[in-house]
């Protein structure tokens, strides 16, 4: 039986579509989505994977089919057909990818807006100061005393000052040593943020946590309660704002289950907001190379029920009171003190360390 090629094309097309749609939903490539924002990102990924699977199957299929069907037969040394190209076909395969990527771009734009990428609307809010409007040429005419002092608000400085109001945060940050970046006027926002999602715009987050990155640890301070912790605990269902900066080099705050990542940069105050949804213990990872022990710079991220969170807070407050946490500045600690938490993390027994000392002597 001779099946015409148009039928074959149709059958292949349907098969590719079905496989792509199925794989786009059943890939198992992403971990649990633990926040509202994560669900949106997953939806975007699934859509991209569906299109990608289709494209992948078509290209690889065409290559493999050609290798089998159009291979040179023994004894045939002649050339193939002289086909040089076809403008309508070129237009077709320019237009289809163009439409696809524009579609993906619009979808991404929408997801980015929904997770709060455009909030606060830095473009509209940052005031264009008088100085910025002044043309360079005008400076020739102006005398020095005419130039007004720069009174533009330094957003990073304000945020840094606000965070330093919290004594616990002030203890772990070195804001006095690192000048804060001034925003350029107009659109020149220098500190990135993922703000509130559009439905929560204008509201203030239920819980604000200051995060400080340093080689090689994350320190979380809770201004509301004065807690300092090496683990990040948040209650489920309440919107959280993370205000982060770094003390030494660039670090990056990443929780795979939140699909959120943000660099913590010395001299800048970055913010992200999200609403945790799924109770569980996850990993919080430093995702920007920060030195030899970069791989060990991760900690627990716990989304817990409000009751468990309340209990955890009480324990922390009790701990803080009893221990009178003196200094977290690593330079002030003896090596043994500094390493203690890591040693317990690595499950090294004190006896083992003792033995190592012996062999050295």
């Amino acid at each position: 039986m001779n099946i015409p090629s148009s039928i074959w094309t149709l059958i292949v097309g349907i098969a590719v579509t079905i496989i792509s749609l199925w794989y786009g939903q059943n890939h198992g490539l992403l971990p649990t989505a633990a926040s509202d924002e994560a669900e949106l990102v997953d939806g975007l990924f699934n859509a991209m994977l569906t299109i990608s699977t289709g494209l992948f199957l078509i290209v690889e299929g065409a290559l493999i089919y050609s290798a089998v069907r159009f291979r040179r037969r023994p004894g045939d040394d002649s050339d193939g057909p002289p086909i040089f190209g076809n403008i309508p076909l070129e237009i077709l395969w320019t237009a289809i990818p163009a439409i696809l990527v524009i579609g993906i771009a619009i979808y991404s734009f929408d997801v980015y807006n929904s997770i709060g990428g455009f909030n606060p609307h830095g473009v509209h809010e940052a005031p264009i100061g008088e100085q910025a409007v002044r043309m360079p040429g005008a400076a020739i005419a102006a005398t020095l005393s005419d130039t007004p002092p720069n009174t533009d608000s330094n957003l990073n400085q304000q945020k840094s000052d606000a965070a330093m109001q919290d004594p616990a945060t002030a203890k772990v940050r070195n804001a006095d040593q690192i000048p804060q970046r001034q925003n350029a006027p107009g659109v020149g926002v220098v500190s990135p943020s993922i703000g509130a999602s559009p439905d929560q715009e204008g509201t203030s987050p239920a819980l604000t946590i200051n995060v400080t990155g340093l080689q090689y640890a994350w320190i979380f301070t809770y201004p509301d309660t004065g807690i300092t912790s090496g683990e990040l605990h948040v209650p489920v269902g309440r919107e959280v704002q993370i205000s982060m900066t770094a003390n030494d080099v660039i670090h990056a705050f990443w929780v795979p289950e939140l699909r959120l990542k943000q660099d913590a940069i010395p001299g800048r105050q970055s913010e992200i907001r999200f609403t945790p949804r799924t109770v569980g213990e996850y990993k919080l990872i430093c995702a920007e190379l920060c030195g030899p022990y970069h791989g060990a710079m991760n900690t627990q991220f716990v989304i817990e029920t409000p009751e468990a969170f309340e209990q955890w807070q009480q324990e922390q407050i009790a701990n803080t009171d009893s221990q009178q946490l003196v200094a977290v500045n690593s330079a002030d600690l003896s090596p043994a003190e500094f390493l203690a938490p890591y040693i317990s993390d690595l499950e090294i027994q004190p006896e083992m360390l003792h033995q190592i000392h012996h062999t050295h002597h």
């Binding site: 490539l29 992403l30 949106l40 990102v41 975007l44 991209m48 994977l49 990608s52 992948f56 290209v59 065409a62 290559l63 050609s66 290798a67 040179r72 050339d79 193939g80 057909p81 002289p82 086909i83 040089f84 190209g85 076809n86 403008i87 309508p88 076909l89 070129e90 395969w93 990818p97 990527v101 993906i104 771009a105 991404s108 980015y112 990428g117 830095g122 473009v123 690192i178 000048p179 659109v187 080099v249 660039i250 795979p256 289950e257 699909r259 959120l260 990542k261 943000q262 660099d263 940069i265 010395p266 001299g267 800048r268 990872i285 430093c286 995702a287 920007e288 190379l289 030195g291 030899p292």
Partner: protein
Amino acid sequence: MTQAQLQESANPAQSEEHGVRKWRDYFSFNTDHKVIGIQYLVTTFIFYCIGGVLADLVRTELRTPETDFVSPEVYNSLFTLHATIMIFLWIVPAGAGFANYLIPLMIGAKDMAFPRLNAVAFWMIPPAGLLLISSLLVGDAPDAGWTSYPPLSLVTGQVGEAIWIMSVLLLGTSSILGAINFLVTIWKMRIPGMTVYQMPLFCWAMIATSAITLLSTPVLAGALVLLGFDLLAGTTFFNPTGGGDPIVYQHMFWFYSHPAVYIMILPFFGLISEILPVHARKPVFGYQAIAYSSLAISFLGLIVWAHHMFTSGIPGWLRMFFMITTMIIAVPTGIKVFSWVATVWGGKLRLNSAMLFAMGFVGTFVIGGISGVMLAAVPFDIHVHDTYFVVAHLHYVLFGGSVLGIFAGYYHWFPKITGRMLNEFWGKVHFALTIVGLNLTFLPMHKLGMMGMNRRIAVYDPKFETINFICTMGSYLLAVSTFPFIINAIWSWMYGSKAGNNPWQALTLEWMTTSPPAIENFDKLPVLATGPYDYGMSNADDEEVEVPLSDEREPALAAGPNSALRADPDPKFAANPEDRK
């Protein structure tokens, strides 16, 4: 007569071999573009082997979740040197090597426009490479990653970082000198009958590549000089402690280093566009479309750099701008991929090693291209930035793309360069091992990244152990895959069967002279009796192949020799009477 015979009879190569190079020439400051081309190709391959050893050391450390092979400091040096060597001492100069060897031959010139500059450009590479590797002996190898972001790069080893900066500055300078030479050579030294619309697509690719090199490499040099001042003189251009801005470095670095991705892939797009039609025995599909798409990629490549910085310090609207420009690059790249598939489709494929590597290139590069579009989507990139997903993506592009392209080029032009054929059986073994090894190594990394494994770490979560073990085994297979090639190349260079002038019956001008070509390439100026891709013109009437949407009467719609997209022969010398208009 076949097309190849027509082209050959119009360009008779001299029969007697003369001007044979002595082996000493290859170790000297020689200005012959062919000597320099071979110097580039062999030197870069040696660096590839060194970089490969470093990669396997990295993978050996990652075989288990603990640090049990090297110290974390050494681990960071290993991946820093691996990336720097593979980029600046292997893929970028390997492209320059092919360009040096092929451009003058393809356009019918005796040599490059600036032969001495050419030799200078090459001779900057060995000292720069040795300098970089010497940092291992000094005991302070650079370990801030190949991106070398401050402030980290300012607080790790000072000597190692200074060596890294010096070395990359030298290599960047070499790259700029090469680019000037390629542009001027292509522009001024073509044979009189060859317009830009008749030159081989590799030349188009090198115009696009050289333009990027000239525009963006100086910015990297600027960034590195400033970084060097911060490091050695205590300035604070990028050091936040003194009020400097580390994000400015990232902008300057990526202003070069993203376009550098195209510097690393465009030359091999060009090679593939040469190799596929020869072994498919069919004209390249859409010559002009492929040529222009190279230029489009070259231009767009300059305005996408900040997609490497979606999680650092740029505002929302800028993230969107760079997302859209990045995604649009998929369009000209798609034109190339579809045109290559259409070139192969319906041909008479000679599935030899060169063709297998070229088709493998298209197949694996597509995976890297697809994951590239995904990475451009800001919300998804925020999740996978700096993870193994990115590692997988960049290796599909640079290994599955560039390196397979280089190997395809080796197999295709080895007979021209050495005058001898490579062994086909071992070539196919090499291909099979490479394809399996590369997919085993890099495909599982996509999943690793999405599930939560970040890059540049020596210790990782034990739940990732199985997948990492697979990746490590794949990388060992890749190491093994190189041996058949090395042995095959050395053995064939000495004892392989003689190639003859045009073993592939190709039409471009480098095949219209002896193998290896004489010292000044051609006895008399070659001519384009046929277009560079006019395969199958002689049997135009034998078989009708249907091309959808085509109409032979209109050049704008035609698929055959009448097509507006074709690269025509020189009307003065055209073998086919219809082309003598």
